[in-house]
């Protein structure tokens, strides 16, 4: 109790200094939390991927399509339950900054994605309308779109202006699911290609393959790829997660830089905090020597310094952690849909606590050791 009283009073002895240090810690812990959340958001798609889905693409590159004839052959592989077609459309809605993913998909595509929840009536309406499309809830909310609206897209890969009618809005089964994409009928795209660019008809971007047992993913992948070995379009089959991660890997260096910056922020505040604690301990050398003179041991003095450092870090870090979720919500809003999943994970919160704790301990080590070791006579002389 006495120790706590002394820690509290020492911590707020120089109010301005303490408040500035707390503010620094707050900003550092908050920045760390936001940067970690950015990294998490980058991986959100991959981490939400199902282990029961494989993706088969052209082994040369994603830019090269596969023939439609592969579909039935893939379906014949042991362990395969469903095969759906998907083509990246890459259209522009109003202006390029309004980017969102668009896919031309076969009608069984949604069967492979039980995490997308669509009402039966809307699904039926979509299947009835050749120009119908499905959009996710996040996308609908972002642009204020609703059922029956016409969604015009300017094609970049597939030229022309394309108009789709929104027939369904699907939700995610939970908050971690990204629902910021649009799907429309692969047949509509293919028929248009037959009329306008025959050479590009009957081509599939990727096949999404449903399997009966995720444990057999590797074997099924090998068997699919074996079917097309030495053909004109060899395939590469991998899990959906590996497929998603290959996109994330393209921005590996950016993510690494974000990670480094997040830790640099913590290191900087650690240095600031260590300086504050060293300054405080130096100013109180004579007081600590007096306490030693009266019979208080080095361990008590070390506890005083560690207690003060941890208290300041707990206050600054605590406020920083408390502000992370609202700041993340604001960040998500300001980012304009670049990060559809931008929620602070439990792991990030734990890391923030660990960082604040580490700063508090690291900042106190040197002053505590120095104070514990100082000779009383030298310490008392510091008053003069």
């Amino acid at each position: 109790m006495f120790l706590l009283k002394l820690v509290l009073r020492n911590a707020f002895r120089h109010k301005l200094r303490t408040l500035l240090t707390i503010a620094g810690l707050l900003v550092a812990v908050l920045a760390y939390g936001l940067l970690q959340t950015v990294v998490d958001a980058w991986y959100a798609g991959a981490s939400a991927a199902s282990a029961a889905r494989l993706v088969t693409r052209n082994s040369i590159s994603l830019a090269f399509p596969l023939p439609i004839s592969y579909e039935s052959r893939i379906r014949g592989v042991d362990g395969v339950t469903r095969v759906a077609r998907s083509n990246w459309f890459g259209g522009i809605y109003q202006e390029p900054k309004n980017f969102f993913p668009q896919f031309a998909v076969s009608d069984n595509y949604m069967d492979l994605y039980p995490e997308f929840v669509l009402k039966d009536a809307e699904r039926a309406a979509y299947l009835r309308d050749r120009k119908g499309c499905l959009i996710g809830r996040q996308l609908a909310d972002q642009f204020g779109l609703k059922l029956g609206d016409v969604l015009p897209l300017r094609g970049t890969i597939f030229p022309g202006t394309w108009e789709f009618v929104i027939r369904g809005i699907f939700d995610g089964s939970d908050d971690t699911k990204v629902t910021r994409q649009m799907m429309f009928h692969w047949d509509y795209l293919n028929e248009t290609m037959r009329k306008t660019a025959k050479r590009r008809a009957d081509q599939v971007g990727i096949y999404v393959v449903g399997i009966d047992n995720p444990d057999n993913a590797a074997a099924v992948s090998v068997n699919i790829d074996a079917l097309f070995r030495n053909s004109l379009a060899e395939t590469l089959t991998e899990t959906e997660q590996a497929f998603q991660l290959s996109f994330v890997a393209m921005s590996d260096q950016i993510i690494a830089a974000i990670r480094v910056v997040s830790y640099v922020v913590i290191l900087i505040i650690m240095a600031v905090m260590a300086n504050t604690m060293a300054m405080s301990a130096r100013e109180r050398t004579a007081e600590y020597a007096t306490l030693k003179t009266l019979g208080f041991g080095p361990a008590f003095l070390a506890l005083l310094i560690f207690g003060e450092s941890l208290l300041i870090c707990a206050v600054g870090g605590g406020i920083g952690i408390a502000l992370t979720a609202p700041a993340a919500a604001g960040f998500k809003q300001a980012a304009g849909g670049i990060f559809p999943i931008f929620s602070v994970s439990h792991e990030t919160l734990v890391l923030q606590v660990a960082c604040a704790l580490a700063v508090g301990i690291a900042a106190a080590i040197v002053p505590a050791l120095r104070t514990a070791r100082i000779r009383i006579v030298d310490g008392l002389r510091a008053i003069a």
Binding site: R9, T290, T293, L294, L380, I383
Partner: protein, 236 residues
């Protein structure tokens, strides 16, 4: 027939202490032999650098000699480890410093209570003792004041209360009037005399103020680390 003399409270034999400055060893005290009786009020006088504060620090157990023996209350404190010395000081020695050395974040009451935090006394007993001691030094009405709300003389009286709160065997005072005006200094000296006379406390005081030194019963002159002319008794 004379009654046998009681053993001195402080027995110092051939005590030496020096400091290393660069590659040179600078002697501060050499060959000090001295006895201080229980209940004595001794002033250590001498010019700056004569070694009086060093001698006081050695007697109080906050510094260690290079050689010689130093017995306080029959215990050779030179053989104590740092933690044994800390425990010994907490029980046996009360400290009064020139600049009071009060904790600025604690009130007068809390400063006086500080040494009692190392004892097993309960809160009620501590309160009783602190209030009584602050009343003895005339600061019963200033208990809740922080050091910066007190005058120099008042701060030194809080320091005196802190020094006696554990009822130590020995009180050491390093220039206790050095930072005070004449009236406050007189008050502090009168208080030390009362502690010595009425409560029988053994006091060793370092001073270079001859007026302060005359408040003591015995006077020891130090010069260049040596005792000059033995112990002068008041009235001799």
């Amino acid at each position: 027939m004379n009654a046998p003399l009681a053993a001195p409270l402080v027995e110092i034999r051939k005590l030496a202490k020096g400091y290393v400055r660069g590659e040179q060893r600078v002697p501060v005290l050499s060959d000090i032999t001295l006895d201080i009786q229980s209940g004595d009020f001794t002033a250590l006088m001498g010019p700056s650098g004569s070694g009086k504060t060093t001698l006081l620090n050695l007697i109080a157990g906050i510094d260690k000699p290079d050689s010689g023996t130093l017995l306080v209350g029959g215990q050779d404190i030179t053989r104590f480890s740092e933690s044994e010395l800390a425990d010994w000081r907490a029980v046996n020695v009360g400290f009064i410093f020139q600049f009071y050395n009060l904790m600025p974040v604690l009130t007068a009451y809390e400063n006086v209570e500080l040494p009692l935090m190392l004892t097993s006394l309960g809160r009620g007993e501590r309160r009783e003792r602190v209030e009584m001691t602050l009343a003895v030094v005339g600061l019963a009405d200033r208990m809740k004041h922080y050091p910066n709300e007190l005058s120099g003389g008042q701060q030194q009286r809080v320091a005196i209360a802190r020094a006696v709160i554990t009822d130590p065997t020995l009180i050491v005072a390093d220039e206790p009037t050095g930072d005070l005006d004449r009236n406050s200094a007189a008050d502090v000296l009168a208080m030390l005399q009362r502690l010595n006379r009425e409560l029988g406390k053994t006091i060793i005081m370092v001073t270079h103020d001859s007026h302060a030194a005359h408040a003591a019963k015995a006077l020891i002159h130090l010069e260049k680390g040596e005792i000059i002319g033995g112990v002068e008794r008041a009235g001799t």
